[in-house]
């Protein structure tokens, strides 16, 4: 499938596939949260309705050039990341870029958001962005460290190779089984990466009115929603490929994706949000030492 016509079809269809997956994930998330809260909850494809509604609004508010470009950086950066993350049947771009590339591209959306929100000149937005960048120092360091440890052991940084390595021996070779310390530390980082509670202070509707999204309305918010939904898939897939053995067929992929997301959501539903300083303190006290220990452990054993 990774050549010729199949490849072109994949490149064109992939954004739509991951958007659809994102819609299903988002809808599932809202439904599951509602069930935990003893509610019926919205439709299973509610995010789709939301996006259609937002994109059909008559938007006449623009705060300037950067505000518009930021939306492209958001969606473009996320789509680019998406192409480099291998999924069943499509890993063509993995040969051109390993996890280090992904790491770089993944910083484009937050950067775009920071620039765009900066131009809206709303203090709530700026505070939200400041918090987002601070939180980055918490989860990003942890996640990168876990990856470094993992890559050192496997001797490769290519996400596809790492995935195939884990697939070679069933569950016993999954990253989370072979390196439980790294796997669990990365799970915390994933929670922060996805902005789910307890690391949700960036949007905190109670004091800063959804932070970066304060001034976004209509099509701008629609773009942010699309980015958010695709990002859900991308981030969960990255974790899956690194620690849960990835997936070779779509059935396995979807089962793992939803299971992982369920875990994230359940934690999200029963915790409040940390303050920024507490969140950083938490990251540097528990997951980061855990990841560092894991890396040291690997270095010790490796040589």
């Amino acid at each position: 499938m990774n050549s010729g016509l199949g490849l072109i079809v994949w490149i064109i269809a992939y954004p739509f596939v991951s958007f659809s997956l994102g819609v299903l994930l988002g809808g599932y998330g809202r439904k599951l949260t509602a069930r935990i809260q003893r509610r019926v909850g919205p439709s299973w494809i509610q995010p789709f309705y939301d996006v259609v509604k937002l994109m059909s609004k008559k938007t006449n508010v623009s705060h300037g050039y950067m505000h518009d470009v930021a939306m492209m950086m958001l969606v473009g950066g996320t789509l680019l990341t998406m192409y480099f993350v291998p999924v069943p049947g499509f890993h063509y771009f993995s040969q051109f870029g390993d996890y280090i590339v992904i790491m770089y591209i993944m910083l484009v959306p937050p950067l775009g958001m920071a620039l765009g929100v900066g131009q809206t000149a709303n203090p709530n937005g700026s505070i939200g962005i400041a918090r987002a960048l601070q939180m980055l120092a918490g989860y990003e360091v942890t996640f990168v460290l876990t990856f470094i440890g993992f890559a050192m052991k496997a001797g490769t940084t290519s996400m596809y190779d790492l995935m195939m390595l884990q697939q070679s021996g069933g569950v016993a070779t999954w990253g989370i089984v072979t390196n439980p310390l790294l796997g669990i530390a990365a799970l915390f980082a994933l929670q922060g990466m996805m902005n789910e509670k307890p690391f949700e202070v960036i949007v905190a509707p109670h004091e800063i009115a959804t932070g970066p999204m304060t001034e976004m309305g209509g099509k701008y918010l629609g773009m942010m929603f699309i980015q958010h939904l695709i990002n859900l898939v991308v981030e969960l897939t990255i974790y899956m490929n690194l620690f849960l053995g990835g997936a070779l067929n779509w059935f396995e992929y979807i089962v793992k994706l939803f299971t992982l997301f369920t875990l994230v959501l359940v934690v999200n539903a029963v915790y409040g949000r940390f303050r920024t300083d507490s969140a950083l303190r938490f990251f540097w006290k528990l997951p980061l030492p855990m990841a560092a220990l894991g890396v040291i452990f690997i270095m010790w054993n490796g040589k």
Binding site: V52, K53, K58, T210
Partner: protein, 195 residues
């Protein structure tokens, strides 16, 4: 005019309206005591999210402006600013008797008596205060209106801006908002459409 517009709806408009009605975000701006019946409506027992209705915190994101009860002059000013910041199509829902005719504050020196003189009201929910069941029924009829393409009161604000602005000035003396409403009307092609 409304009938003519209805017959002119294309198939795409109809599909869009049917999708749009499934997602309505309500601005969580509670102007009066009616707000106390909103938490029960939002939470487990009545669960508004079943219909895709969610509370949102900023005007830019919201579709529905719910005026939950009496509006004091001080709040009316904020409500007008908020309304103009919202992105069209937007719907004002008057909630409770006080928005209709002043309710039990008919002789109060700070509350306005008729909301539709200052903002275009899509729908009223009568009662002091309406029960959660009434709120949900009201929202469902708003959803039906949107599906049929009849919820066009927001255009009225651009078409008859002089009327609303005159009334607003009658209360405040002079009011300055951040939006150039007639220009927005032209941008949305609402004002031309009338001619």
């Amino acid at each position: 005019m409304a009938e003519k517009e209805l017959t002119q709806r294309s198939a795409w408009d109809k599909v869009l309206a049917n999708l749009r009605k499934r997602s309505l975000w309500m601005l969580h701006y509670c102007t009066g005591c009616g707000a106390v019946e909103l938490p029960p409506t939002m939470t487990s027992r009545f669960d508004m999210e079943r219909f895709g209705i969610m509370p949102m915190v900023t005007p830019r994101q919201a579709d529905i402006l719910l005026i939950t009860g009496y509006l004091s002059v001080k709040t009316l000013k904020r409500v007008i600013l908020i309304y103009e910041q919202m992105v069209a199509p937007k719907y004002v829902v008057g909630f409770g008797s006080c928005t209709i005719n002043g309710g039990m504050y008919w002789n109060s020196y700070t509350t306005i008596k008729a909301l539709d003189r200052y903002l275009p009201v899509e729908m009223y929910l009568a009662g002091c205060m309406p029960r959660p069941e009434a709120i949900i029924t009201g929202f469902n009829s708003l959803i039906d209106k949107i599906a049929k393409g009849e919820a066009n009161s927001w255009k009225d604000y651009y078409e008859n801006y002089e009327f609303y602005h005159k009334n607003q000035e009658h209360v405040f003396g002079d009011i300055e908002t951040h939006h150039d409403v007639p220009a927005d009307g032209k941008y949305f092609r609402v004002v031309e459409a009338k001619r």
